[in-house]
Symmetry: C2
Subunit: 429 residues, 2 copies
Amino acid sequence: MKKNVNIAVVGLGQIGNYLLNELNTKKKDIELKTGKKIKIIAISAKNPKKKRKFKINKNIFYKNPVDIIKKTNVDILFEAIGYSDGVSKKVVELSLKKKIHVITPNKALIAKHGDYLAKLAEKNKVNLEFEASVAGGIPILRTIKEGLATNKITKVYGILNGTCNYILSEMETSKNTFSNVLKKAQLLGYAEPGNPKLDLNGYDAFAKVRILSSLSFNKKISNKKCLMEGIENIDYKDIDIANQLNFRIKLLGITELINNKLFERVHPCLVKKDSYIGNVNGVMNAVIVHGYPIGESILQGEGAGPGATSSALMSDFLSILRGNIKYPFGLPNIKRKIPLVYNVDQYSNSLYLRFEVKDKPGVLSQITKQLAKRKISVERLIQIPDHKRKTASIVIITHKANEYNAQKCIKSIRSNKNILKNPILIRLL
Amino acid sequence: MKKNVNIAVVGLGQIGNYLLNELNTKKKDIELKTGKKIKIIAISAKNPKKKRKFKINKNIFYKNPVDIIKKTNVDILFEAIGYSDGVSKKVVELSLKKKIHVITPNKALIAKHGDYLAKLAEKNKVNLEFEASVAGGIPILRTIKEGLATNKITKVYGILNGTCNYILSEMETSKNTFSNVLKKAQLLGYAEPGNPKLDLNGYDAFAKVRILSSLSFNKKISNKKCLMEGIENIDYKDIDIANQLNFRIKLLGITELINNKLFERVHPCLVKKDSYIGNVNGVMNAVIVHGYPIGESILQGEGAGPGATSSALMSDFLSILRGNIKYPFGLPNIKRKIPLVYNVDQYSNSLYLRFEVKDKPGVLSQITKQLAKRKISVERLIQIPDHKRKTASIVIITHKANEYNAQKCIKSIRSNKNILKNPILIRLL
């Protein structure tokens, strides 16, 4: 790469704006570490007049980001718009085709079009870097691609969504409801004020799981259906009961190979209170990698926010400036096979089940009969009566139960007129 | 780098031997990820006949490792002998001069001669890589150099010696003495059977601290005296009392900038039982990085053992094969300044003090008088009598106390004839 490097930043929301300030203030440090002189020659955003934390230079502002690619001589472009398609995809695509290196924190884009874009980058011999797309404050992609490069990784899991982890932690400590804590999270800027759905329904964590899978197992990104549940249905009651049973509830993203088949999932999990993952609270992210010969490696740090995200974007930036041209997914695109996918129906796991029932004779027996029919065996059972309402909560921790059987069983129990609400199922880690 | 790459491994102890097997079994994976065909063309060790876990190919054996450098066409050399000087230094030095890339897990060598060797590598445009020198299973050097490249790091600390952490954990759980647990550690292969001193006296952790400092703060490696204490004097009694006070004792390596001055230290620390670091037990290593804008990042993994160490060596190896030529310490040698060093006498910290005293009137007052004289104020005081022996243990947790004053104070208390043993001082984290 030549000594003077031209930079463009497209998208000036919280992240793009913070990044721009980092680029401006760290020019000297960057030159020291890479020998390159950087110049920001173009920026673009929907609204140039929006109030921003750091001032932007309007002389280099482009209304249409495509003009930057067509009309300027940019070498490295940051895409910080954030859509999985539309202008985000267009800008990245055109840049790679024009031999411009691209850096992006856009997990939705990479999870959906990563394979195609990686191929494009490889063909044009430029970098496509996306460290910031998964757990910004944790250099986990670099760790998998480089630090653990020759390990045989078998499982990666962790807390990949700080918003959900904050909400679950806060529900526990403040003994408050989901909706109240969500409001608080929105006020604090941890959850989007308008539409927090992509965080809460597990989609955000899931896009990250897909990226982690493809890097960890050297496969193409899977596009098959998978197990995805969010935290919208977590009741304070479950957090409270879990607590009494010495568990905490965490939203985990998990990817593993079972008999060489890929099993990706995002769902709430009951984790032991005295486990490492049970003690990662608040907006923190944590990732645990199982590999050989490494054993178990743990990484923890801030997952989101403009600071942590910029830190990851800057690490990608320095990697490019240092001339480290690499395959975006660590090996040539043509060598990455489409993964075989594990059938979730075959999966067996211990479960936490909660049934809200009428407090009258025979109900418990109706439930246990259904469980027995589906070969689900009970490890622990607690019945908590609500004398006022003449109802009871029946909480069951099962031995390992087959997923398909468990879903069928819950469906039949749900149809029982003595069952007052949809049963709750939370998997144990 | 050319397509066919010739490798040499010098030193075939536990690590070198394991590495050799990894190189042999992962040739395909390496070619897939880097496009390079590797060939091991030379090996060397003190004793070719020693019984090893994996067989060695005697046709490529050299008695004198210098011959490998002089007579073969090696591209990348692994140094796994392990001395800070002597043949280790000679082999690395000659290799770099002959434009051979060097990879080493040798912390003693890097902590002592890292600056000189880095200069040599830079001059000859080859890599000198030493990821495995600090916490093998944790890619911490790569994380600091690359993953957190533009962060302003202010402090790095952690559990850097698995042997010491195992001994302290095991003393707590088995309620056993230091010497008994050390014997067990030696049987299990966690501590060297012959001379475990370099682990136990803190030197091993200290060499790692020096390497972490220079990378984190972009300075030359310091050669100034620093605070170094091992775990040889930790009594089960202190572990037990700490436990009652809700603390654990951990040997920590800590490096930080205080008013832009480098403060490096290794010593046992009282850490809260419910803290993250208080729950890293057994042979695990953990490193915590404070930086801006990253906040706090945590990395945990196996610290030593041939598997973890080989994983780190292999990551360095792939980095070189991928063509990532880099400054060994992340920036040009000439730009790395000699660090200013913090005067430990100025340091203030809370302390745990234990005095074994004759159980007679006035002794406590003699101690507290000395403390007051040195402006050391008591936060908590426990006196535990031993009626049989007519002695008592006086345990004091102080408020922040000046290091110089504390040492002076202990010296004067020690000379008191009512004090039966050398007082114990352990710093709080």
